[in-house]
């Protein structure tokens, strides 16, 4: 005859461990988590090159920091090379940063509702910035004509 020994009070009535510790999702595949992990490493390396290249060209070359003005930016974005450089920097930095904050939210948000809304705000902000930034890089026009009148700009071709 065996004695019925009750489970310690911290365990649930049905299972052997407290429900909090049961992994929900039942063996959810970590393919995305692996891709995210790998992306963080690869984008990090590329970003180091892109950001320090950006800083060197803007702050060190030529007149250095004194050369930066509206015309300097307009001149850079006239070249597809710098358009694509800045686009890569924007996308990689935004995805890298967003994924980093996503992992922090996942690690430290204790309630599911809080976690959900923090992630909604995070993704909305990231999407808005990426779309706006991409539009600015490719539709930037330094010498716009408003109502048939060209706006002043010393670097613009004289009408």
């Amino acid at each position: 005859m065996s004695t019925d020994i009750r489970f310690p009070r911290s365990t649930s009535e049905t299972g052997r461990i407290a429900p909090k510790y049961n992994r929900h999702g039942g063996g959810a595949k970590g393919g995305f988590e692996m891709a995210a992990w790998l992306f963080m490493r690869l984008s990090g390396i590329v970003l180091v090159v892109l950001i320090f290249g950006h800083l060197f060209v803007n702050l060190m070359l030529g007149d250095g920091v004194h050369a930066i003005d509206f015309g300097f930016v307009a001149g850079k974005w006239a070249s597809p090379f710098w358009q694509w450089w800045d686009l890569a920097m924007l996308w990689l930095a935004m995805l890298h940063g967003t994924n980093g904050v996503r992992t922090i939210v996942n690690d430290y948000a204790e309630r599911d509702g809080v976690r959900f809304w923090l992630l909604v705000v995070l993704y909305a902000a990231a999407i808005a910035i990426v779309i706006l930034g991409t539009l600015v890089i490719f539709t930037f026009n330094p010498c716009p004509t408003v109502n048939g009148v060209p706006l002043p700009g010393s670097f613009c071709p004289k009408p």
């Binding site: 310690p8 009070r9 911290s10 365990t11 052997r16 461990i17 407290a18 909090k20 510790y21 992994r23 929900h24 999702g25 063996g27 959810a28 595949k29 970590g30 393919g31 995305f32 988590e33 692996m34 995210a36 992990w37 790998l38 992992t103 690690d107 430290y108 204790e110």
Partner: protein, 260 residues
């Protein structure tokens, strides 16, 4: 009850310079222990004990002195008391250690020495936590040899180099000091935890084992190795000196190597 007999005088002559046990320096300590008894109160509280201890004593000896001489209701786990069984992992002065491997003289005895249960697991009483979630993760990674084909009639031979590959992770004593020092485990208890990954590593890199792929697949879970943020708390906490974070990184690399 029984008449006490006088101890016969020793026949061995010891010079005065050798002396006896009384020559070990003593000092006074204050032991602050986190107490919890759900049958009395849902709240936990601190109890302080003033003790005179010897220079050779460990935190476990101080706990024994409390339990045996001052307050028999104090509860804690210990079995071998020599750093092998892994029963008495606890949070001493804010760090996860084995009470039986921490000498009092190595701690700051001028301040109270705090002793708490390890974090992230449900406390049952005083310093005793429910280890079941910890062992659940351990069981899930299948911590036993799985080999295909017929069992050999002799032992399974392995070269010294192949054995060396996973030597570090064979040292685990399942004390849970690493898992309960991990901030990712603290948040929701979903993460497999360093100890389960270390014990998976021990078989994944064993040349005699054939189920490495299965274990890698299990740890490729969204609560698996990718939740490791390389905080290094586990490596710092391990009383056996296992390079835990390194082992986790090697499992990550093995999963990646399998994909590409």
């Amino acid at each position: 009850m029984s008449a006490s007999t006088v101890e016969p005088a020793s026949k061995v002559e010891l010079p005065a310079s050798v002396g006896g046990g009384g020559e070990i320096p003593t000092f006074d300590i204050t032991l602050r222990v986190r107490r919890y008894n759900p049958e009395v109160s849902e709240e936990s509280h601190w109890d302080e004990y003033q003790l005179t201890m010897y220079g050779t004593d460990r935190v476990l000896d101080a706990l024994h002195k409390v339990k045996w001489e001052l307050d028999g209701s104090l509860s804690f786990r210990r079995s071998c008391a020599h750093g092998v069984c892994g029963s008495d992992a606890m949070r001493i002065n804010g760090r996860n250690r084995l009470a039986c491997k921490t000498l009092l003289k190595d701690l700051d005895t001028s301040k109270p020495i705090t002793v708490e249960p390890i974090k992230g697991l449900p406390v049952e009483k005083d310093l005793i936590v429910d280890m079941e979630p910890f062992f659940q993760s351990y069981r899930e990674i299948m911590p036993f040899l799985i080999s295909k084909g017929h069992a050999p009639t002799k032992e399974r031979l392995q070269s010294a180099e192949d054995r060396e590959r996973f030597d570090d992770t064979t040292k685990c004593i399942l004390c849970a000091a690493c898992t309960s020092s991990c901030p990712v485990f603290w948040t929701d208890g979903q993460y497999f935890g360093p100890a389960a990954i270390v014990n998976a590593h021990r078989f994944i890199f064993d040349s005699r084992d054939d189920a490495g792929d299965m274990r890698l697949e299990i740890l490729n879970d969204k609560e698996g190795v990718w939740r490791c943020r390389t905080v290094f708390n586990c490596t710092e906490a391990c009383p056996r000196g296992i390079q835990v974070t390194k082992a986790i990184s090697e499992v990550k690399q093995a999963i990646l190597a399998r994909q590409f």
